[in-house]
Amino acid sequence: MQTVTLTPIIQSKISIEAETITPDNFAGKTGEEIENITIWEGNHKTRLFEFFKIALEGKDSPENTKIIINGSIPRVKRVGEGMTDGMILINGDVDMHVGAKMCGGVITVKGSADSWAGREMKGGELIIGGDAGYYLGAGYRGESCGMRGGKIIVFGDVKDYAGEHICGGEILIKGSAGLMPGISNNGGIITIEGNTSMPGAEMKKGTIKINGVVETLVPSYKQEDDEEINGIVYNKYTGDVVAGGKGSLYIKR
C-alpha cells in the first residue's frame, strides 16, 4: 500500500491545473519525485511542492495507491483526470473537472465539487459528500457522449444539466438537481431523490427517476401506465418524442 498525503500550504487565487494528481502518476514514485511533479498555475509551470506539503508512506502499484488531500482546494482543477485505479480522498472542496474521464478507482470528495465533476467518465466511482456544480457527468462542449460508465453519487444538491449527453453509467443525486438533468440522455441512469425541473429534454434512451417534485415537465413526453418500483409508485413517461426518443422518465406520484 502506498499512501500519499498532500496538505495545502497556500491557496492560489489563480486556478491550478492538476491533472497530474492521480494514483497512476504517483504510484511507485519517491517523495522527491512526487514533489517535483508538474502542475500549472495559470500559464505558469510550477511543481507540486510549491502548493502542498507531501507525506509519503510505502511504495506500490496504482491499484494500491491512495492519495489523501487534507483540506479544501477550491482552485485546483482536474484532480484525478483519467485515473484508472487507486483512490483519491479529498477532505474538503475541489474545483472543476474532478474525476474527468476517469476509467477506474474511487474518488471521494468530502466537501463540494465545482462544475464538470466526472465529465466524460468511463468507469470507477465518484462520491461527492457536499454539492456539485453544473454539468455533473456531462460531455464537454460539442461532445456527443458524456459519461459512459461508472457511478457518481452526490449527497448534496447539483446545479443545471447534470448528466448532459450521458451515454451510460449511473448518477445518483441525494439532494435536488437544477434545470434539465439528463438532457440528451442517450443510455444512462439518473436518480434524483430531491426536486428538479424539466428533466430529460431530448432524451433518446436511458432512465431518469425522480423521487421529489418536478416543477415543470417537458411537454413532449407520453404518459404510460403507473409503475411500482421498490414499493414506490411512479408516473411513467416515455420520450422525448421530439427527438424520437425511447427513454423512460419516472416521477414519484
Partner: protein, 569 residues
Amino acid sequence: MSELLIKNGRVFDPINSINGDIMDIAIKNGKIVDDVSLSPNTKVIDASSMIVMPGGVDAHSHIAGSKVNSGRIMRPDDGRSGIEKRTKITRPCSGYTVPNTFAMGYRYAKLGYTTVFEAAIPILHARHTHEEFGDIPIIDKGGLVLFGSNWQVMEAVRENDIEKLAAYVAWGLSASRGYGVKIVNPGGGEAWGFGKNVSGLHDTVPNFDVTPAEIITSLAKANEMLHLPHSIHLHCNLLGTPGNYKTTIETMKLLEHIKPGMDRQVVHITHLTFNAWGGTNWGDFESKADAVADYLNQHDHVTVDMGQLIFGNATTMTADGPMQYANARLLNARWTNGDVELEDASGVVPLSYIRKMYIHDIMWAVGLEVALLTRNPWQVLLTTDHPNGGPFVNYPEVIALLMSAQKREEEMLKLSNKMRDRTTLSGIERELDWYDIAIKTRASHAKILGLTDHGKGHLGAGADADVTIYHINPDRVDAGREHATVKKAFEKPAYTIKDGEVVAMNGEITATPAGRTFWVNASVPEEHNTRLMRDLRLKFRKYYSINLANYMVQDNYVKHPVVIKAGGS
C-alpha cells in the same frame, strides 16, 4: 545561392515520363536545374533506395475560409483532438477534421504536399480565405471561386451573353484573387434561398428562367473563352442523392462538344464518392461507379477526383446548402447554414462514417471503384475532399488501398455483405504502381489545374524545387502484400523539400517558410467590361450589403502572390 543535390533516388516524375530511373535531382535557388557543380556549399541528400517524387499537389481540399471556420466554431470537440504543442519553430496545432490554420500547413508538409488548392471561395468571403491563407505556413495555395448560383452569372446565361459572362468571371477572379471557376449544384444555391432545390439538369432556377444545364455549358464556354489555366470545376446537381450517377453522366455528356481553350480537360467533376450512386432510395442504394468509369474510359474531356471516404469523423462542408439541410435532417446532426447574398449558399454538418453501415460501406467502395476501373490514371485524382470524405492526413491509407488488392480484401472483411453485393470492388484485382500514385497525387493534379507550366507537379529543369523523398525501396517492397510498409512510408516522408529548402524530415517540421498564392488575372475586351460594370453598379446599389469599392480583395491580403495571366486572344 543555396544548392542542393538529391543523389541516387528512384525518381518518379510522370510529366517528364520518368518511371523509377535512378537519377540525381539538382536544385539551385529554389528551382530544379540540370546540374549543380559540387561546391562546399552544396548540401547533398543521399536518396539511394528511396523514392523521389515532385512535391504533392492537392487540387481539391477545403483548407481555408468561412465554411472551414464555421466547422471549427461548431466543433469544439474536434478542436480538442489532434493537439500538438508548439515547438521552437512551429506554432500550436489542434483539430482533426477542421485543424487550425497552422496545422493545415504543417500536416500537409509532413505528408509530402507542397501545393494545395481550396475548392470553394465565395467572392464575398474571399478576404477571409486569404487571411487564413496568410496564416497557413509552408504550402503554396490557390482557390477556386464559386460561380454556379450567382445572380450576375444567371442573368448573363439567360441573355445568352457569353462575352459578358466571361467578363464577369474575369472580374470575379480578380475581385477574389481566385484561380478558377467552381460550380456547386448550379442553381441549387439560389433555389435554397427559397427553401427549395433544383431537381435535375433541366429544372428551372426560381426567378431566373435558366436551367443548371445552361449554367454549366455557358460557364464552360466562358472559361474556355478566357483560356483559364483550369477548366470549370464542378460539384454536380443532386449530389448525395441515390440514383445521381445518371445526372453525373448526363452532365459530362453536356460538355462533350466544347473545345478546350488550353491543352487540358473541359470539366473536372469532383468527389465522385458522393455522385456515382445508383438505386432510388436509401434502401436499394448501390454503387454505379462502374457506369461512370465506363463513360470516363470512352471520353477524355472529363477528369474527376475520388473524394474517398475514410471511416471515422468527418466534417462535411459545401456550398450545396439544400443537400446539407437534407443531410442534417437525415442524421439528426448539427447544422450550420450560410447564405452568401447574391452568390451562393452553404452548409456545414459534422458526421461520422461507420463501418458496417452499408450506405457508408458502399460509399467507401465507390471512390476506390472509380479510381481502379478508370483505365487512364491521369483521369482520376486521389483526394478525400478534405474534410468531407475524411481528413487529408489519411491519404496514405488511400494510397495503400489503391496499391493492394489484399488490403482492400482485408478491409472488406470488416464491412457489410451488402457492400459486396452492391459494388464491384471485390472483383477488382488492379493494383496501382508507384508511377500511377505519382500521377494521382501530384502530376495529374498539377496538369489538371494548369500548373505544370508554372513549375508544379514535375521535376524538369526550371520547375519549383518542391520534392518529396519517401523512405521506401520499390525494388524491395511488394506494395501488394506489404501495404502496411507502404502506408507508413507515405505517412512520414524522409524529406519534404519546398523551394529547395527542407521543410519536413521524418514527420518533423524543420522550417516554416511562407507559401505563395496563385491567382489568375484574365483580361477581357473593354466594351464587355463596360457593360458588365453597369450591371454590377446597379446590383451593389440595390442588393449587396456592402459597397462595390469595399468588395475587391486588396493586394495586401495576398502577401506572396503569383499572378497568372489569361484572357481572350
